[in-house]
Every structure is written in C-alpha cells, then in structure tokens.
Amino acid sequence: MNGVKKQSFQFQLGRSDALRSSIKQVYIYVVLVLIVFVFSVMKLDQVEMFGRGHFLSPDSVINLLRSAVPILTLSGAFTLLMISGYIDLSVGSAMSLSAVVYALMILNGFSFWPALLITLILGVIMGSVNAYLVMNLRITPVIATLVTLSLFKGIALLIVPDGLSAIKGSPDKAMPGWINDYARKEVLFGLPAAFWVAVLVIVAMVIIQRKTILGKYAAAIGGNRIAADLSGISAVKIVWILYILVGLFAAMAGMARASYMSLGDPLSGDGMELDCIIAVLLGGTAFSGGEGSVAKTVIGSLIIICVTIGLMTVIPAYWQVAAKGSVLLIAVVLNHLLVRDTASA
C-alpha cells in the first residue's frame, strides 16, 4: 500500500539510482582488491606469514587457489539454483559424505576412476533426494534441505568407525599415497588437477547461465514463477536438473577435499552452505532469485577464501571465526544496501 506512494517518490531519484547501479556493478571487485591489498601490506616480523611472508607471493597464491577448489567447484551450480529461486542448505553435508565415501573406497583398494564415478553417482542421488522433497513433495526448500543436511552428515558420521575422527590410514591398512595427487600434485603453473577441473566447471557454469536454455529458464522461474508456468516452462524439470547439478558438484568438491587432506573427514564440509550463499549474494544474485551472475559468484568466492586464509595467518585461532563473520557481515550489509534500492526501482 505504501509502496504505491513510495514508488512515485523513487522516480525522482533517477540520477542517484544510476549512480547506485554503477557502484553495484563494480563494488565487489573493489572489495576483493581492498581485501587483497590489506593482507598484502600487513607485516608481522616474528611470524612467518603466507608461506614466504607475503600474501601475494607465489606459494601463498598457490595455497590460496588450492583452498578455493571446493567452493569454486560448487558455487557455480549453487548460483544457478539460487537464480531459480531455490536453495540447497545440504551442500556442506553432501560434501562431507562424499569425502568420507571416497576415502573409504580408496582405503579399501578402489582405483581413482571407479571411486570418482561412484562418488559422483552418490552426488546425483543426494541432489535427487533434495529435488524430490522440494519439487514433488513441495516442502519448503529451506526446511527440506535442512533436514537432508542433518541426514547426510549423520550418515557420514555413521560410516566413520567408532573411535576415529575420520576415514584415514592406520598401521594395518595404509591410505594409498596417490590419494592426494588429484588435489596437490602440480599439473600446470604449480596448480593441481583439482584446481583446473574447478576452472573448467566454472567456465561450463558461466556458459550454461549465459548461453543455454537451462540458464535462461532458471532466470525465468526465479523471476516470475507464474509467468514461467504459463509460458510452458516446466519448473519441476528445470529445478530437478539444478538440484542434481548442485549435488554432483558437492560430491566433486568433497572428493577434492578428501584428496587434499588424504582422509575422509565427516565434518570437512561444515559451513560450506554459508560460504556458498554469501559468495552468491556478494555476486549480486538476489536471494529471491531471478537475476544473478555465476562469474560474479567466482569473485564472491575468492573474497571468502581470501578472508578465510588471510585471517588464518594474522589472527589467533580463537578469533578467526568471529573475525571472518564480521568481515562478511560488512560485505553483506553493503551488498544489501546497494542491491535493494536498484532492485526495487
């Protein structure tokens, strides 16, 4: 009701709206540069920071990019899902379960390709469970995937034997040495296969978003569900595909994490859903769906990784989580203030 009056008021703000929207276009890059800059000039003499003492030193950058593999692998598909107006809170648990299952298979003599294939199938199954709950049983996405978050994590914890914290090598049964080749062994420019796969996934997701019917329908469904239905777009089919993609890439991220750590940690994906959501929101995707950009989610993901890794080096462990929360809070509030006014005009 008030909206009617407010709208006519906003028309008069045309010029500052244009300014605001151009700020919105570039601000996320500024935030990334700023964060990198701050960490680069920080000096603590007594501590060996960032590998060789500089945030932008080659070792430090390689370390940072390797840490970014899971979120880069996952956040593209996650963006598409959020553009369609849906969400998957179970990605972290899906990652953990995949990591545990993958490590368990490797420990028991599976070779790389079969283990990878089975892990990916597991991802598809987890995505399908979410899709079925949300699209066929019509359970609110937040509730449905909160339940599967708990379920997947529960299964991961069950798989790990009593008395152990993770699936790992023991004196009588050693983890094969090659398990971490995928996530650590240099392939190109000092970076491992897992990183380049993540890059390929991101490129594929950018293309899907911009050039394919799937990407377009995701935006249509998130932008106006009623119009999408009346235009003959099958939201059920499209969102099913998106949930499966998210499940698939969560499995892939979990497998990369297991390779990196050479073990299957049932808690390794904890907090991934939050990182993904924040990366997507920082990238300018509206929480309600409709518009968004996979490419900008990549920038959002890098911000999160820089903050995480940067703070890990300069701040005492106890403070890290709170400090990361604070930095991200500022970014999210800024983002909200900028996105809100341009979106409603």
């Binding site: 009701m1 008030n2 009617v4 009056k5 006519s8 050039k211 394919t212 019917i213 799937l214 377009k216 329908y217 935006a219 249509a220 932008g223 106006n224 009623i226 119009a227 999408a228 239905d229 009346l230 235009s231 003959g232 777009i233 099958s234 409709g290 518009e291």
Partner: protein, 496 residues
C-alpha cells in the same frame, strides 16, 4: 460541531496512471446515513476512487471533504482512524484466531506483555452480539461461513466507530438467505448513524438496498441520483455503457465450418458445466463482469487449472498442462501482464522467444544472433516503442509490455490464441493497435478467443459472443449490427 448533510463531498477528483486517466474529474456528494451505491463496468474507475478514499492511492488533483473537512488519508490505517472502513472482497480476518481476538486485532491492550481483556473488547463483543447473536466470541474464525466472516468485519468497523463503511461486492460469495441477512444488517447500520458505500455488479441489489446511486463510466462521473427516481434496470444499464460504438465490426461469412476447439461440460470450483465450440479462424469473445469466470475458463482450457469435462483441440483430447497445450498449438495471454505474463527483469530480447526456445536453439544452446533477430522482428512487427531490444521489460509502458507478451505468444506459433483482458489498463493508441493486430491474425487464419470485461471491445472484434455469469455460460450470440448491448448487460448482471 454540527454534522453536515453530506458525509462525503468529492470535488473534481482526478487520478492519472502512466498513460491512463483512471478517474477523470469526478464530483458528487454522499448523503449522511444513506446506502450509496456505486456502479459501472469494470475499468469505470470505481475501485480507483475507493482506493483514493481509503488512502491506498494518492490523488492527482481534486478535493475530498469528509464531514466538511479536507480528507487526505496517508494510508488505509489513517483512513480508518478518520472513520472510513472497508470490506474488501478478500476478507481481512485471521482464520486461526477466535472471533474475539479478531475483533480486537491491532487494538489489544496489555499488562506486562500479557493480553488484557478490556472494556473495549467487551464493547466490541456486545456490538458483535447485537448484530449477529449466533456468532460466539470464542469461536475460531475458520469455522465461520464467508457471510459470518463479513459480519465479524462489519462488527469491527462499527466498534471502531466508523461512520462510513465501504462494501466491495459483498454478495459475490454468499448465498441468497445470507444476502437477505446482510441487507437487514445494512439497514440497521443506516439507522445507527453509519453511511454505507455499496459496490455491486448485481443491479437488482441496487434497487433493493440503495438510497442513492452513482454511475461511473470510463473514469468519469455519469450521474448521481436517488434510486427511487430510476425507472428500471435498463435505465441503469444505459447509463453504465453509454453509446456503444461498434461500427468497426463487419460480419464475416468466410469462416470455415471446421471446429478447432470443442469444450464439453467443463466444470470446476468456479465453472459450471460449460460447453461450446470454436470454428477455425473465428474470433470468439467471452464477456462477463468480475467474478463471472472468464479467467478461470481461460486457465481451465489452457490446462493451468484443474477441471472436469473434456476439451478437444483439433479433434484430440488436450492434456491438462500448459507445456503440452503450447506444444499442441495454444497460447494464453494472461490477465495480469506484469505478474503472469512478463519476465520483468529480463530484457525484451529475453522475453520474446521464451515460449518457443527450440526455434532459436540447438541442443540446448541459444543462438544469440537468432534471438536478437527474432526480438527485433517482433519489436518492428508490433511497433513496440523502445530504443533497444536490450531494454528491461519492467521499464516499458503498459501498452508496450502487453505487446511483448503478445509477441511471446505469437512466437509460440499457436493456432489458437487466448487473450485474457488484452487491453486492460493500456492507452487508447496501443488498444487500437492491438485490435488491428487481432484482425490481422484472424485473417491469417489464426483462431482467437478474447476474454474481456469491456463490452465495446467484444462487440468491435468478435464474430461470436458468449456471455458468462457466475461461472455459467448464459447465452451465445452471433455478432452483427442487430446485437443488442442492453440485452447483453441484462444477461451478465444476472437477469433472466
């Protein structure tokens, strides 16, 4: 303060929306303690007028005097405090609360955060009791009938000491006996210092309950006079429709006898056993007032809503699913273009091809060049006023938005095009462009069904006219120079 004779005086009221003047220089008075009826076709400006009175819209110009004083409510709550309550068609009660809780909603008093039963609540309950003793204060509102929920709302308005209660189509969803009960209540309200502004499409009710009536047409004020001075329904109808110009319509005899659509015994919660046939290449119109079931019929044929009965398209049974309907060759331009037809955050380029993506893509990949060509083609073909196909649909005017929705449906290559209120809320120029487009499409062999609450529109372009009232198909006419618009109005307002 001595009460003025007129509780409300409206002077030269104007309300402009982009491209449309919804209320055009309206002036009339509403006498204190009367039942004042407001009638007019859809789009006549009644709702806009009410929304200005209740603070939903801001007027463009003009003056409103309430009890002799300037009335400029900032929002509905403000209007309520000044004594104007409204009973909307969508009732404003909370089903999960009790009658008593509903009555005191928003005016609760508390002690240390705990709800307190006050004199005010008691007084509200006694008002409730005096109006309708059969409603118990402790009853859950969800257990009440629509009519009784209305009474709860009326009691709330009375207890808030409203001296004007606006009722918007209060009888649309209640039974005959409940209507009689409502009228008794309205009469007792009038005796208890309340003025009722009564809006209804059912003209017989105006004669039964109204003291005065104001007729509006196309945003303008036609007449305000005592109901007793009005001869009969047809006088009222004549005032509502004015001189209907339909010289544009030329009877056609070249329509093929082939049936493209056969609808048999279609029923659902809003439709009542509807059967009709449509010939290939015909322009068919469905006319009825708000709530007659036009949109519901369109959605049922399209497969967007569940229904019983049989629909044959080109001799084959339709599957109840918009995706399948589009594939079979049916497209629907929905009633509300912004919320149902358009992807407002997408560009024109993004909107136009969305119903037929396979035509501009290969194995899932969109051919961007083809997409641009298609969008450009439709911008030119339908004369969409824009400097670029990259303009967001949200930023177009209503008429141009409607053309984008039409483009979408045309690109779907449909043989049967259903248009639900194709020209609602758009300016005259765009309207006539859309009419000539419809004729052109019909000449190209497309079949078109128009669902409209604007009679001139139906009479200007349709070959045959179906009349709907209360979910039933009441009458079917062939259009021609001998079609009697008064008869049509008679049928769609519930006459026999």
């Amino acid at each position: 303060m001595k009460p003025t004779e007129n509780v409300l005086e409206i002077r030269n009221l104007v309300k402009d929306f982009p491209g449309v003047r919804a209320v055009d220089d309206v002036s009339f008075d509403i006498k204190r303690n009367t039942v004042h009826c407001l009638v007019g076709e859809n789009g006549a400006g009644k709702s806009t007028l009410i929304k200005i009175l209740t603070g939903v819209y801001e007027r463009t110009s003009g003056q409103i005097l309430l009890n002799g004083e300037e009335h400029d409510p900032q929002n509905p709550r403000d209007a309520k405090q000044k004594g104007i309550s409204t009973l909307f068609q969508e009732l404003n009660v909370v089903d999960q609360l009790t009658v008593e809780e509903n009555l005191s909603l928003g005016v609760e008093e508390t002690t240390f955060g705990f709800l307190r039963r006050t004199d005010k609540t008691n007084q509200m309950v006694s008002v409730m009791n005096s109006i309708e003793p059969s409603i118990k204060p402790g009853q859950l509102v969800s257990t009440l009938s629509v009519a009784k929920k209305q009474i709860v709302e009326i009691a709330r308005a009375v207890a808030a000491e409203s001296n004007i209660i606006i009722m918007d189509e209060p009888t649309a969803a209640i039974s005959e006996s409940e209507i009689a009960r409502l009228f008794t209540i309205i009469r007792s309200l009038r005796e208890n210092n309340v003025t009722v502004i009564y809006i209804s499409h059912r003209l017989d009710e105006i004669f039964e309950i109204g003291d005065n009536v104001t007729v509006m047409r196309d945003g303008g004020h036609i007449a305000t006079k005592p109901v007793a001075e009005i001869e009969d329904r047809s006088e009222l109808i004549r005032m509502m429709i004015g001189k209907t110009v339909f010289e544009h319509y030329m009877p056609r005899d070249d329509i093929s006898p082939d049936l493209i659509l056969q609808v048999k015994n279609l029923s659902n919660h809003r439709l009542n056993d509807i059967s009709f046939d449509v010939k290939a290449g015909e322009v068919v119109g469905f006319y009825g007032l708000v709530g007659a079931g036009k949109t519901e019929l369109a959605r049922a044929i399209f497969g967007a809503d569940h229904c019983d009965g049989e629909i044959l398209f080109k001799g084959e049974k339709l599957r109840a699913n918009p995706e399948k309907s589009i594939a079979a060759g049916i497209a629907l331009v929905p009633e509300e273009r912004r919320t149902q037809g358009l992807f407002t955050i997408l560009t024109i380029r993004g909107n136009v091809p969305v119903m037929n993506m396979s035509k501009i893509s290969r194995s899932g990949f969109i051919n961007a060049a083809k997409e641009r060509t298609v969008a450009q083609e439709y911008v030119e073909k339908l004369n969409i006023a824009t400097n670029s196909i990259e303009k967001e649909a949200a930023k177009l005017s209503g008429g141009n938005q409607q053309k984008v929705v039409l483009s979408k449906c045309l690109f779907a290559d449909a043989d049967l095009l259903m248009l639900d209120e194709p020209t609602r809320g758009i300016d005259v120029g765009a309207k006539s462009e859309i009419y000539s487009l419809i004729r052109q499409l019909s000449n190209e062999g497309k079949t078109i069904i128009i669902f409209s609450s604007e009679l001139p529109e139906i009479m200007n372009i349709c070959d045959s006219i179906h009349l709907l009232y209360d979910g039933s198909l009441k009458s079917t006419l062939r259009n021609g120079l001998d079609v009697d618009s008064e008869y049509i109005l008679h049928v769609v307002t519930g006459g026999d």
